[in-house]
Symmetry: C2
Subunit: 382 residues, 2 copies
């Protein structure tokens, strides 16, 4: 709740809902006849519409990436550290577009939206969405905004997968793809953690096979568990150790199963808060989009071959203590890009915060990201 807005903030922002009524065919074979996308934009589109940057969000993200919705908002958008005047994605130079993805639960059409065919929430009838589908919907958003080519498409984690997919689906519609803390595909361990999260949700008795809206309830405990296990994978062992260690909430062991260690109460709190604000069906969809992403599927695992269509330049960034998508996974991508003779810049950033490091500004991360985006801006005269 800032008294005044920080000078490097994009300030007060308002989301906008855009309605699309051209049917979209999805990878799963189903079609959505119409849908809404909620977007926020920061900065000004220049005359030749060449300075637009698309922000792609990760599993639990949304369109509110920067600035404040009101003077009462406690925290700014989720990537405020990187988006704003003078920040790596400099809103004095770029027109930044941030969208809540299809299937989301922050205003864009998703499982909690009303299915026009039934007059009830979609629930489990909402189609499974893939990264490719998101890129398709984002391309229509670009059309709507009059953006023929993005100066850059940028994302971390699942957002990085979208930035990758853009380079393959629409090679001529972006100049740069910025892929941060991501991977060209999930490992068995990654899928396994997602599966635990899904089982936690679907085995909650309040899940009602995804139709919990009709029962006026939510699978709160399942979603809480899903978030708790996810949260552990976003942090490094070292950063959890640094933050909590084995610190107790009281002075001695209580010999029970209440939250005795600080890390227990932190995780419970995070899980509970998340379960109050996020839709469980969206969580299922997002984890499945992660699982399915595999651009080399069609090329039988040959990633350089899969990357052949790309024409943009790439920036790939990884973080030293990220064990969810470790630097080795980014290097796999970078090596494939080099094999495929793409232009790629790569840096592994030394940071202690695990996967979450992509959300936390550190000098080297900020410097590299800023320098790269400065070049992107200069190329388009911004």
């Amino acid at each position: 709740m800032p008294d005044s807005l920080p000078p490097d903030s994009v300030g007060l922002v308002s989301p906008e809902t855009l309605h699309f009524d051209q049917p979209i065919e999805l990878a799963c074979g189903q079609t959505l006849n119409s849908y809404d996308l909620v977007v926020e934009t920061y900065g000004e589109l220049n005359d030749d519409a060449s300075n637009a940057v698309l922000i792609c969000h990760a599993l639990s993200g949304h369109h509110h990436a920067a600035g404040y919705h009101s003077m009462d908002e406690r925290k700014p958008g989720w990537w405020d550290s990187c988006i704003g005047p003078g920040k790596p994605i400099d809103t004095d130079r770029f027109f930044v577009v941030s969208v809540n993805n299809l299937g989301g639960c922050h205003g864009s059409t998703g499982p909690a939206s009303i299915n026009p065919d039934t007059g009830k929430p979609y629930g489990p009838d909402f189609p499974v969405i893939t990264v490719t589908d998101w890129v398709e919907s984002q391309a229509r958003l670009a059309d709507r905004l009059g953006i023929e080519q993005w100066a850059a498409v940028v994302g971390g984690s699942l957002g990085g997968m979208q930035a990758m997919q853009w380079s393959l689906s629409y090679p001529d519609r972006l100049r740069h793809s910025v892929v941060i803390a991501s991977t060209p595909k999930l490992s068995a361990q990654n899928i396994a953690f997602n599966e635990v999260a899904r089982q936690a949700i679907t085995s909650d008795r309040e899940f009602h096979e995804g139709r919990y809206y009709d029962f006026d309830t939510v699978p709160r405990r399942g979603l809480m568990l899903a978030r708790m296990v996810g949260h552990i994978t976003y942090l490094s062992d070292a950063s959890m150790g640094e933050k909590f260690g084995r610190e107790l909430r009281d002075e001695a062991y209580k010999f029970g199963f209440g939250a005795e260690f600080q890390v227990e109460s932190y995780l419970r709190y995070q899980g509970e808060r998340f379960s109050e604000s996020f839709d469980a069906n969206t969580y299922l969809l997002m984890t499945r989009a992660l699982d399915y992403f595999d651009p080399a599927w069609d090329t039988h695992g040959d990633l350089p071959k899969a990357l052949a269509p790309a024409r943009c330049e790439f920036l790939v960034l990884s973080f030293s203590t990220d064990w969810r998508f470790s630097p080795a996974r980014s290097e796999e991508l970078v090596n494939a890009m080099i094999s495929a003779r793409k232009k790629v810049s790569y840096a592994e950033i030394d940071a202690p915060w695990g996967h979450d490091a992509f959300l936390i500004p550190t000098p080297r991360y900020t410097d590299i990201f800023t320098a790269y985006m400065d070049r992107v801006a200069r190329e388009v005269g911004a």
Copy 2:
């Protein structure tokens, strides 16, 4: 289901239930007036009772460590790879004692046992048990068996903590402590994973605050989830990748939330099987025993000082890809032992299987373990 028993097996074995009616005071402040311990023994105790080896089990373990209960048993005991004639713990030389710990669910007194005060299962009234309590109960078991001093106390993971604690609680009652794939204390991340498991169990509607026995049900889904998340931490990313990769059960994506990837169906199967055979209250107790173990608690984190009372020799083994209790955690222990001027041998074994590697024989592991135990045997003339 072997047609004939392998020549290096201890063969057909039978557990035995020993009743103890001397009250045991527990670390939590409560007292158990009487209790049963189920044990198996392999090999023969020598005349001066100097060749006894105690096996301490881990979270989901029990007394059945080696051999077969019948010719129909599909698999031998859980550590059959290391216990038997000619194996590292050579039953031609040692008298091996394997006990189901207090609080367990394989015959020893635990939450599912009848509380003599109420005539009903203990459930949540069963006291929280610590590693120190187990060592105390195991010391009484040693008394009962006429064993004044163990040639060695041996354990992996949570079992290794018991082997450590023996050296501190009863310095004169063991000659060697063998601590495999263990840690002197859990990290915040370790506790966090345990907490997810506990929340999964206690938030299952069938848990009934631990009194599910009275409702003729079990928190099957919660225990399944707990096991799934645990199982991921027992395997390495690489070994899951090797075993499952991104392999699908069918040829293409089905765009749903069923088990599509092999790793999903494997985890579900493991979780379901476990949830049918293990008691949820015991799982809670075991994870809490892990959380609480911290021999340096009384010395304000000074581990060398905490280790001062020990008089035995130590063998410490770790495994290169174990990320649950990584080699660095064993090295922390070894460095403290060296600071405390204890005799310690240490090896990090190169093995791809993560934490589970302590259950899987590999040449270097077997060689080192065998050589050490050979020395232990020779010292006592076995």
